[in-house]
Symmetry: C2
Subunit: 596 residues, 2 copies
C-alpha cells in the first residue's frame, strides 16, 4: 500500500519535512495549510520539489467549518474554497480534507449539510478535485464516522467521499466494524494515528498526545482490517499531532513513522517482512572507554577476569560465569567518557535477524573488520547503541568469539553470574520510538512504562524483554532534556547471593553506592525482615523490593564515566527492576556528584 505522512507530524520548514519523509521511504505527504503558508516556496516550486523527491501530494488540508450554515455564510465559504482549489491546482493536489464543522453557526441539519457539501463537490469537480469529509471527534453536530458517511451517502456526489481517521474513531470508543458498510471507493482517504489511553479532553488529547501506530493504546490494526475489507486502495497516511515530535529532528521521526506503518501492514498481512528472530540471551555488553584503568578496576573487583583479547583491535574480553563484557578503546573520546556502546544478542539466526532489522529501517552497520574477523551482523538502535546478532560457540555458525585469543587468565571462579539486564538512557525525543524499535525489530515484549522521581525531575522507564527473561533491556528517559550524567547507562549482573557478591566486591577494593540509614528504617516498617537480614543489607547498601512473584535484592557500584554496575539477586517470579528504590538510588548518586 502507499504510505504517506502529514507534514504536521514532522518538525522544521516544509522543505525539511519533505526531505525527511522522502528519505524515510514514504510515497506521499499530506500538506498542511500552515506549512504551506509559512513557506517561501511557491506552490509550483513545492510541487516540483515533491516530484523530485518521489512524493505524491496525497491530500491538502484542512478546510474547516464549511457545511450546514446559513446561505450568506455558505456563499463566503464557497468563495474561500475557490481560492483553495486554485491553490491546489497549482500544487497538483487532487484531494481536500473537509472536517465536520465546529462553528457555533452550524445547524443540526443533515440534509442541509449534504446539500452544501454537494455544492462544494460541484465546485471541486471543476478543478478535478475530490472532497473527503471527516467527522472530528469534537465536531459540533457530526462527530462519528457513521454520521459523516450518512451525510456523504445522502449527498450522493461522485466528487464527495469520506475520510476516516483512526484517532477520531477510536478516541470516542466507536466500533470500527461499521466501516465495512462503506463502499471502499467512497473512502477517499485514511488517516492513522495511535494515542496512549488517557482520560482527558479529546481535543487536547488529539492535539498534543497522538503517536504513531503501535506506540499507543489503540487497536489500529483491527481498524485497518475493517477498512481493507471495504476494498479501500488509497494510502495509509499518518496524521500525528505530538508536542515531542514537534521538537525532534524530522529525519529520525520520519524513519520512526515509516517503521510504524511497515509493522502495521505486517500485522494485517499487507506486506511481507522477514519474520522476527527473537534473541535468546545476551552474548556480551561492550564498553567503550578512553581509559581502561577505572573500568578494569571495577570489573576486577566484581570477579571478572580478562579471558581473551581481540586478535586485531584493542578490545579485551572480561568474563565471569556467563557474563561477558568487552572493553574497547577504539575510537573512544575522552569527552564522552566510558559508555555502553554495543550489545551482543544471542540470535537463533543472526542473518535473518539482520534482514528483519534492515527491512524495518534500522541502519545496518558496516562490517569494519580485519580480513580474518568473523562476519557479524549489526544494526544501530535509535539511541546509537550498536546491536550485534551473535551465535556464540555454535558449531554451525561463525562466532564472534573466534576473533578473540584466550589469555593465560582462567575465567574467574565460575558463579551464577550473567547479565540480568542492561539499562540504556534514551534521547528525550526518542522514548516511544525506542520501545517500538525494540518490539518490532527485535521481537521483544514491552512492559508498562513507570515514572520514577529523581530529585531534579521525573524519569520514565520501560523495559523490553524476551519471553524467558534472558534478555532484559530497561529504556529510560528524563522528563525533559537536561543533564543526564546521573541518568546513566548501567549493567546489572545476576547473582544467586547478592550478599556474598557485595562482600567479595568490597573485599576486592570495590566501592558500593552508600544507601541512607533512613531507607533501612523504612524497610523495617514495610517488610517483616529478620533483624539480622536487615542489618546485613544496611551494612552493605543492599536495596530490597518484593512483588507478588518474589523478592529482588540489589546494590550499585560507583559510576565510571556514564556507566555503573548493579548486582542483583532476583527471585524467579519477580518481574520488575526495583523501581520503588530508584528515587533513593538516584538521590545517592546525585549526592556523590560535585555540587551543581
Amino acid at each position: 500500500m502507499r504510505t504517506s505522512i502529514a507534514t504536521v507530524s514532522l518538525s522544521g520548514s516544509l522543505t525539511e519535512k519533505l526531505t525527511a519523509a522522502s528519505r524515510a521511504g514514504f510515497d506521499g505527504v499530506e500538506i498542511f495549510e500552515n506549512d504551506l503558508l509559512a513557506s517561501p516556496r511557491t506552490p509550483e516550486e513545492i510541487r516540483a520539489r515533491c516530484a523530485d523527491l518521489g512524493l505524491a501530494i496525497e491530500l491538502y488540508q484542512p478546510m474547516r467549518d464549511i457545511e450546514a450554515v446559513p446561505p450568506a455564510e455558505f456563499a463566503r465559504n464557497l468563495r474561500r474554497a475557490r481560492h483553495k482549489f486554485e491553490l491546489m491546482r497549482r500544487l497538483g493536489a487532487d484531494t481536500v480534507l473537509v472536517c465536520s464543522s465546529v462553528s457555533p453557526s452550524a445547524l443540526d441539519d443533515d440534509a442541509l449539510a449534504a446539500e452544501q457539501l454537494s455544492r462544494l463537490a460541484d465546485l471541486a469537480q471543476d478543478f478535478g478535485i475530490r472532497v473527503a469529509y471527516e467527522a472530528l471527534a469534537w465536531g459540533r453536530h457530526v462527530s462519528t464516522y457513521d454520521h459523516a458517511w450518512h451525510i456523504v451517502e445522502t449527498a450522493g456526489h461522485p466528487a464527495l467521499g469520506t475520510c476516516l481517521d483512526s484517532f477520531h474513531i477510536l478516541s470516542r470508543g466507536s466500533d470500527p466494524k461499521g466501516i465495512e458498510d462503506i463502499p471502499g471507493e467512497k473512502i477517499f482517504f485514511l488517516q492513522l494515528a495511535d494515542a496512549p489511553r488517557l482520560a482527558m479532553d479529546v481535543l487536547q488529547w488529539s492535539r498534543h498526545h497522538r503517536c504513531f501506530p503501535g506506540q499507543g493504546g489503540f487497536d489500529i490494526a483491527g481498524l485497518l482490517r475493517h477498512v481493507l475489507r471495504t476494498g479501500y486502495d488509497g494510502p495509509l497516511s499518518l496524521e500525528v499531532f505530538n508536542d515531542v515530535f514537534r521538537q525532534a529532528e524530522a529525519g529520525p521521526t520520519a524513519v520512526d513513522a515509516h517503521r510504524s506503518l511497515l509493522v502495521l501492514q505486517e500485522a494485517v498481512g499487507a506486506v511481507d517482512l522477514p519474520a522476527p528472530v527473537v534473541p535468546t540471551g545476551i552474548a556480551f555488553a561492550e564498553l567503550v572507554t578512553p581509559d581502561t584503568e577505572p573500568v578494569e578496576a571495577v570489573l576486577g573487583a566484581l570477579g571478572f577476569a580478562r579471558t581473551a583479547r581481540h586478535r586485531a583491535k584493542p578490545v579485551d574480553l572480561w568474563q565471569r560465569g556467563e557474563a561477558r563484557i568487552l572493553v574497547n578503546t577504539t575510537g573512544a573520546v575522552r569527552r564522552d567518557g566510558t559508555q555502553l556502546a554495543a550489545i551482543g544478542l544471542e540470535s537463533p539466526d543472526p542473518a535473518a535477524a539482520a534482514r528483519r532489522a534492515e527491512a524495518l529501517l534500522a541502519p545496518v552497520l558496516p562490517r569494519r573488520r580485519a580480513p580474518e574477523d568473523a562476519p557479524l551482523d549489526a544494526v544501530a538502535a535509535p539511541d546509537g547503541t550498536e546491536l550485534f546478532f551473535c551465535a556464540t560457540d555454535r558449531p554451525d555458525l561463525p562466532s564472534w568469539r573466534a576473533d578473540f585469543e584466550d589469555t593465560a587468565a582462567a575465567p574467574a571462579a565460575p558463579g551464577a553470574e550473567r547479565i540480568d539486564h542492561l539499562a540504556l538512557s534514551q534521547p528525550w525525543h526518542q522514548f516511544d520510538e525506542a520501545a517500538l524499535f525494540h518490539r518490532s525489530v527485535l521481537g521483544l515484549d514491552a512492559q508498562e512504562s513507570v515514572d520514577v522521581a529523581d530529585p531534579y525531575g521525573l524519569l520514565r522507564s520501560r523495559a523490553v524483554t524476551n519471553p524467558d527473561g534472558s534478555v532484559r533491556i530497561a529504556l529510560g528517559v528524563g522528563a525533559a532534556p537536561s543533564d543526564d550524567t546521573v541518568h546513566a547507562q548501567h549493567l546489572a549482573l545476576a547473582t544467586d547471593d547478592v550478599v556474598a557478591a557485595a562482600r567479595r566486591f568490597r573485599q576486592a577494593g570495590g566501592r558500593l553506592l552508600p544507601v541512607p540509614a533512613n531507607y533501612y528504617d523504612d524497610l523495617a516498617a514495610r517488610f517483616e525482615l529478620a533483624d539480622e537480614e536487615l542489618e546485613t543489607y544496611r551494612g552493605l547498601g543492599i536495596l530490597y523490593d518484593r512483588d507478588a512473584g518474589g523478592a529482588f535484592r540489589h546494590c550499585y557500584t560507583e559510576t565510571v564515566g556514564r556507566v555503573f554496575f548493579e548486582l542483583v539477586q532476583r527471585d524467579p517470579g519477580y518481574r520488575g527492576y526495583g523501581a520503588p528504590n530508584a528515587p533513593v538510588r538516584l538521590a545517592a548518586q546525585h549526592a556523590r556528584r560535585p555540587a551543581r
Copy 2:
C-alpha cells in the same frame, strides 16, 4: 498565619529544599517520606537543620491504606505505624497525614474505618502525635471531605482530626461551603494547591499539574474563607506536585510559592500588604547592547532620534512621539548580545509600587547611581528584567528624565508612535511564576494563554495588561528548554498608519522581515480585502488579523542580537497580538538564520 510548604513541591536534596523554603520566608515544611528516605541525614540531624533554619516540621506524610481493612492487615498497618511514629518522635514532627485508602482490600464500612482510625490515634497519642485523616479525590470508598469528616466525627478521638486539601475538594467539584460545619479545632491541617482546569483523569491531574494558588483555575481564596470561619489556626501549607517545578531550581520556586501564599492571605484579609499601584503607561524600554551601531541603525530607520544623553553613564535616550528607548552600553557583554534589559513603568506612586513589590518578595535593585541621579525605585522580574517605577515629567516627583541632558537633535517628526507592547521570553520553568508576578506585584490583568506553533516546537504566550491597554507585556515561553534565539524579545511600536510607517522604514534603509506570498493568497481567501490593500501588504510584508473588535496590521524588522521591533496598527477594539500570524513570522525568522 503560619506558612508551610511540602518538600515534594521543590526540587533537589532534602537539605536543598529546606534551605530554599527557609530563604523564601516559609515558617514550616511538610516532610515527604521519600525525601527523608533518600537523605543521608538522620532524623535528629534533619530536626536540628530545620530548627537552625527557623522551620517547624508541620507534618510528616503520608501514611497510606491504613483503615477499614481486615484485622490481620490492620495489625500489620499498626506495626508499620509504630515504626513511623518512632521516626516522627526523632524528627520532632507531631502531625501525621493519613490519606483515605486506595487499597483493593479496603472495605466500604465507615464504622470500621472510624474504629481503626481510633485505634491508630490511640497509638499516636502515646507518641504525642495527632493523626490528620484526608479524603483523596480517588480514594476507594472515601473521596470527599465531608465523608472523611463524618468518619473522624464518628471516631470522636482527641488525637484524630481531618486534613483538608484544596485540590482534592475542588477537583471533584465539591462545594467548600460545608467546611464551615467542621469545628476549627478538628481541622488538623490545611493543604493548598491550585490547578489549571483540565478535563483529565484526576489522579494524573493531581500528580503532574498542580500549581501554586493563583496560578490555576480554582477559587482557593473562597475555600480558605470557609476554613477560616471554622476557627482553624494551623498553617497554610502548599502541597504541589508539578512536573516543571520538579526540574526547576528550588530557590526561585520557593519564592514563587511563598508569594502565592502572601497574595492568597491578602485576598482573604489575613495579611496587610501595601496596595497594588497599577502602572499607567510605559516610560521607556531599555536595551543593553555591546555595539550601538546596529541598534541605532534600526532606531534611526524607525524615525527615532537621539534626543538626550545620560549625564554620567553611556546611556542614550532615543525618542519618537511618546516611545522612548534607552540604549545602554554599561556592562553589556558581547556574548549576550543586544537585549531588552529594563522597562520603565509610569507609576502613580513609584515608592508605594516598590514597597508592594518588596513585600511580595521581588528583589529590590540597588540604586547604583551618581550622587546627582534621580532616585529610581526598581525591582527585578523573575526573568531578570529590571522594572523601574517612574514618574516622568511630573512636577511633584523626581523624574528619571532629569538625569538626561538634551542633545541638539530635536525629537523626530511627532507621530502617534508609542510602545504598543513588549514581548519578553521567559525561562522555561518560570512561565506560571511570571504571570503571577506581573498580576500580583504590578496589579496587571492576565489574558488567556495561547499556544503558537513554531516550526521546531510549540510556544505558549500570555499577555498581561493594565485596564486601558497602555501597558501590555506578552510573556512567552517555549514548550521545552531549547534554543531561544528566535523566541526573542521584541518591542512593538504603535502607529496610526502601518503602511506609511513601513514605507518610511524601508526608505530609510531598514529591512523588514519578508513574508511568504502564500500567506497573502490565504489572506485573500479568508478576508475580503480590496485587491490594492492586499497588494500593498504583500509588497511590504504586512500581516493582518481581525477579531470581533477590529483589525490588527503589523510587520517586523530584522533581529538585532536577541531583539527585534514590530510596527503595529491596532484598531481600538482589537484585543490580541496577531497570534494567528505568529507561525508565519516564526518560520520566516527561522529561515533567515544559519542552518541548524
